[in-house]
């Protein structure tokens, strides 16, 4: 190996290291303790706690493509595995619309959602609406969010994460990235 080649290798190694160091910070969640204690935090919110945000490298192209046809591709960690199984089994009546997929696509996306579902959900509940989860309700209650915000036409509905969390599409809901529209 020539000296020139060694230099290139060193440059690549440094670049990779830099990426691996900066990534977790960019993806940091709003509740650092949750991240630190991981699954041990499953007792929080009466057992209805969401999981870690997903790293971009872990995502699935078909999930991204199919789920974002009509709304953002909601991060799988926001609900428990049972919710996702129910959701994907009832796509022909998906919140009032037919959102059915062919069997192969359904299988692939279900597996992805189930494998990356909340790892801190210990309750036996399995809501279909993310906004019905206890963690969601607590983080969006009247103490946290002025009720007027929900009436803003730019917000429209709690399903519209991107209205206040511009990075929602990437699974980033960190507090410092919140921008509540006026």
């Amino acid at each position: 190996m020539s000296i020139y080649d060694q230099k290139i290798f060193r440059m690549i190694a440094v670049a990779l290291l830099a990426i691996s160091v900066t990534m977790p910070a960019a993806q940091a969640d709003d509740d650092d303790r949750d991240e630190k204690y991981g699954e041990k935090y499953s007792g929080k919110y009466g057992g209805e706690n969401r999981g870690k945000p997903l790293q971009p490298a872990q995502t699935n192209a078909r999930f991204q493509q199919e789920c974002s046809d009509c709304h953002i591709a909601y991060a799988p960690g926001l609900l428990p595995a049972t919710s996702w199984r129910k959701m994907m089994a009832g796509l022909d009546q998906h919140f009032g619309s037919d959102a059915s997929l062919d069997a192969g696509d359904n299988q692939e996306i279900t597996a992805f959602l189930v494998n990356n579902a909340s790892n801190r959900w210990s309750a036996s509940t399995a809501p279909l609406r993310i906004s019905e989860a206890a963690w969601f309700k607590r983080k969006h209650d009247d103490h946290e969010i002025n009720p007027r915000v929900w009436k803003n036409p730019k917000v429209k509905s709690p399903a519209n994460c991107g209205a206040c969390h511009p990075q929602a599409e990437r699974g980033d809901f960190s507090e410092r990235n919140i921008k509540i529209p006026r």
């Binding site: 190996m1 020539s2 080649d5 290139i8 009509c70 009032g96 619309s97 037919d98 059915s100 429209k156």
Partner: protein
């Protein structure tokens, strides 16, 4: 070393080409032909009619929706989902080259949207009429 870089670069370009291809696997006319093949076998089949397709597209059906509720009366312009507000790219192939180029996508959306608008699946006749109509729309 550099030879290796060049080879892997070429491989990447080749793979990208293969992956990009299925997006435009067919033309809207080829899709129309396959709907026609399906329709010919059904009773009372009549040659596809753009005028009938337009009436079907704009009429309200079982769920008090029409195709135009979301795709607008001018499918060469962007639409908006009647419930979610999501912007929908133009449906007419003259205005959006991606439309009616993937048989899988066509099947997926006809199934979904016919169920939402009509509460049933569309017949091959209805699908063919609508596509015939969409193909007459100029940008």
């Amino acid at each position: 070393m550099f030879h290796l870089f060049r080879t892997s670069g070429l491989a990447l370009v080749t793979i990208a080409g293969l992956v990009a291809q299925p997006a435009f696997a067919e033309t809207p006319n080829e899709i129309l032909a396959s709907i026609q093949q399906e329709a010919t076998g059904t009773p009372d089949f009549q040659a596809f009619s753009a005028a009938r397709g337009e009436r079907f597209f704009k009429a309200r059906h079982a769920n008090d929706w029409s195709c135009a509720s979301c795709h607008t009366d001018n499918p060469a312009t962007p639409g908006k989902h009647a419930r979610t507000g999501k912007v929908i790219d133009p449906l007419a192939p003259s205005a959006n080259a991606e439309r009616f180029t993937s048989p899988k996508k066509v099947a997926k959306w006809f199934k979904r949207n016919c169920n939402d608008v009509l509460d049933r699946v569309c017949t091959p006749q209805e699908k063919g009429d609508v596509l015939a109509y969409l193909l007459t729309i100029k940008k």
